[in-house]
């Protein structure tokens, strides 16, 4: 949702005196000046991703095969959903270290209620999500009521929730979810039919071009500088080509997994909430300057609590997806590197640790980077020791870029 950066005419009949719509050259110039000012947006991570894909493709030609990319997409969905929640928390300049434990707890609750208590699947899923939401509310309550730093609250949560997960799993320690259950089918075997994927690609492009063109028209009627029509159409053309090609390529193998589609839809929904609603605006405001937000009449406590609830619920959903893909919940569900990988994905994708900067797309880009590294190294038969080291180095690089672009923004007087 880019808007024009130039001043509309300052007379009383602007519609008449309006200069021609800003053209491609102006859009390009504005983009270049933004980048030079340190507002890098998604550029570093996209460039990084291109590099990673190129290197791995050279090292192992099966890396970019459709079969591997289909797997990559499926692997990204669960952790990406958790990372999406982390992005929201980071936007407030807070942190949730317990997302891994929360996802493990949700997996355990799903498995126990569904297979041992024989609850209907929807109720089992709701119970798991509700447990996440409850913990999110509890974190937000502790943060706003007692002012305890979220780092410490969620560190305690990490341990406590892990204990709860083990208790829920009971003596068995590992519970299989029947392979023929709907949720496992959904996570492992359900793919978009090829024709539907092309229809969706077309619809998404039409929706994008349509909303941007109608916005441009509204801006002209309101006497504001509109976005260039050529730029919109060009972006629409690029979008349809990319989507159709991507869909076609994945369809040469199994296709687009429904679980990955669910993740992308979640990202788009969160993006809408962040960019186009009062709630999203208040999140950016609290992350940017909490005192200013408070004085503007924003109920800061409610923002904190609601974000922790949404983030923890997304973590629980991620845990449900991971358990479904594995067809089991066990003591190590959500353990190991889940926590830190989800947080690293959000940061690598461009969510600033300093709060107030980042977008829902950070989660998608970040998790694809991390899973690409993991998948590429697995194909090279390198074990997890190398994977951890490489992922750590990439995370470090992302944080350095974040800090450097922050300094450059300060130099150029941008936030």
């Amino acid at each position: 949702m880019s808007t024009s950066d130039t001043q509309p005419p300052t007379n009383n009949t602007p519609a008449v005196e309006l200069p021609p719509a800003s053209g491609l050259a102006e859009s390009w110039a504005a983009f270049r000046s933004r980048v030079r000012g340190g507002d890098l947006g998604a550029i570093p991570v996209v460039v990084g991703l291109a590099l990673i894909w190129t290197i791995f493709q050279i090292l192992n030609p099966t890396f970019l095969s459709s079969a591997n990319l289909v797997n990559l997409a499926m692997q990204s969905a669960a952790l990406g959903t958790i990372a999406l929640g982390v992005v929201l928390v980071l936007l407030l300049a807070q942190i949730d270290l317990s997302v891994g434990s929360l996802s493990g707890l949700a997996a355990a609750i799903l498995a126990v209620t569904f297979t041992q208590l024989n609850w209907p699947l929807p109720f089992a899923i709701l119970a798991a999500l509700a447990a996440g939401a409850l913990f999110g509310w509890f974190y937000g309550f502790l943060l706003t009521r007692f002012g305890v730093p979220s780092f410490v609250i969620t560190l305690a949560g990490l341990l406590g929730v892990l204990g709860l997960q083990l208790w829920v799993l009971g003596k068995l320690g590992s519970i299989n979810i029947p392979f023929d259950s709907g949720i496992v089918q959904f996570a492992q075997l359900m793919f978009l039919p090829a024709w539907l994927s092309y229809v969706l690609a077309g619809l998404a492009t039409l929706a994008y071009v349509g909303t941007h063109l109608s916005l441009a028209n509204r801006r002209i009627r309101a006497g504001l500088l509109p976005e260039s029509r050529t730029a919109i159409l060009l972006r629409g053309a690029l979008m349809i080509v990319a989507l159709l090609f991507g869909a076609w390529y994945l369809n040469t193998d199994r296709g687009i997994g429904l679980m990955f589609l669910l993740f992308v839809v979640l990202v788009m929904a969160v993006n809408f909430a962040l960019k186009r609603t009062r709630w999203g605006r208040s999140i950016y405001a609290v992350g940017g300057n909490v005192e200013a937000a408070r004085r503007a009449g924003i109920r800061v406590d409610r923002v904190y609590i609601s974000v922790f609830v949404v983030s923890a619920t997304l973590a629980a959903l991620g845990g449900i997806l991971a358990a479904s893909r594995l067809a089991a919940a066990n003591q190590s569900s959500g353990g190991g590197d889940t926590n830190l990988t989800a947080i690293a994905a959000a940061v690598i994708g461009g969510a600033s640790l300093f709060g107030g900067r980042g977008s829902a797309w950070s989660a998608l880009l970040g998790i694809v980077v991390i899973q690409s590294i993991s998948s590429g190294l697995t194909l090279l038969s390198l074990d997890s020791s190398v994977r951890y080291m490489v992922t750590g180095a990439v995370l470090l690089l992302a944080v350095i870029i974040d800090s450097m672009s922050r300094r450059s923004r300060a130099l150029h007087g941008r936030f």
Partner: protein
């Protein structure tokens, strides 16, 4: 926002403070202060450090409710017990730190906490109103879609003042609006204050700077050690008179009374900042 009440010449104040006192524990930051604010008038509040200027601003903004005294709005007694009360009455305050969100653009900052739009935000309407408001104020802002961190000090002050005008308040309280600004930017803000007066707002200008006060204020209210120490029309007062009232060197009825009752406390209070 555009339906501005023109400056009226009647003698009815918008807001009247009578006998306002404010204690912080044993410290009396304000005692028995009176203040009237009229529409279309700039009233400057001046005083030395610790005179109670900031406390008075916070009473007006509802941040620190007064310990005693009465406040009446257009003749009706009201209470200002929290910032929402003040805002609902139409008292907008621009604090010295401006309270802007640096990561948000001008439009977002202007409408923060009262965004337009029923389901989704109506960015077009908000941007249009932003331009309309900035134009009315003859404000020079290069773009309303860059983060406010990229603006100069004067421009940031302009954004903060413009934001206070959303919702068409009857009174605008400005706390040291020129304190951190250079010469050109100060002139910009002073022009802005005159625009506000033309729009018919009652303006309270808290300032250290006598040149600014004499340039735009219609009336000067002097505070000294938490008490009223003079209320002058700018046209018939000299710079020296104001300074004398601020420092207590003046010889008028108010200061003499204050001097009689407050002499022993003077030295204690001088060290305290309100």
């Amino acid at each position: 926002m555009t339906d501005v009440t023109p400056a009226t010449s009647d003698d009815e104040p918008i807001l009247s403070l009578r006998g306002i006192s404010k204690q912080f524990g044993a410290i009396e930051a304000l005692s028995d202060v009176s203040l009237d604010i009229y529409p279309g008038e700039v009233v400057a509040i001046v005083g030395d450090n610790g005179a109670g200027k900031s406390t008075l601003v916070k009473v007006l903004a509802g941040v620190h409710p007064a310990s005693s005294g009465t406040i009446s709005y257009r003749g009706d007694e009201v209470s200002l017990s929290n910032p929402t009360d003040a805002r609902d009455l139409g008292i907008a305050t621009v604090f010295q730190d401006l309270a802007l969100c640096d990561n948000l653009d001008v439009v977002s900052n202007l409408f923060l906490g009262r965004e337009l739009g029923t389901r989704a935000l109506d960015e077009v309407e908000m941007e249009q109103q932003t331009w309309a408001l900035l134009r009315q104020l003859s404000a020079k802002i290069p773009s309303v879609r860059t983060p406010v961190a990229g603006l100069s000090g004067g421009q940031r002050q302009t954004v903060a003042i413009a934001r206070s005008l959303i919702g068409n308040p009857s009174i605008v309280v400005l706390d040291e609006p020129t304190a951190a600004l250079g010469v050109a930017q100060t002139a910009e803000v002073l022009n802005l204050i005159e625009h506000l007066r033309e729009r018919g707002h009652g303006i309270v200008l808290v300032s250290h700077n006598m040149a600014d006060v004499q340039a735009v204020a219609d009336r000067v209210v002097v505070l000294r050690l938490g008490r009223n120490n003079g209320d002058f029309a700018v046209v018939d007062v000299t710079y020296e008179d104001i300074i004398a009232a601020i420092t207590g060197a003046t010889d008028n009825a108010v200061s003499r009374r204050a001097g009689l009752t407050g002499a022993t406390f003077t030295r204690i209070k001088e060290g305290l900042s309100s």
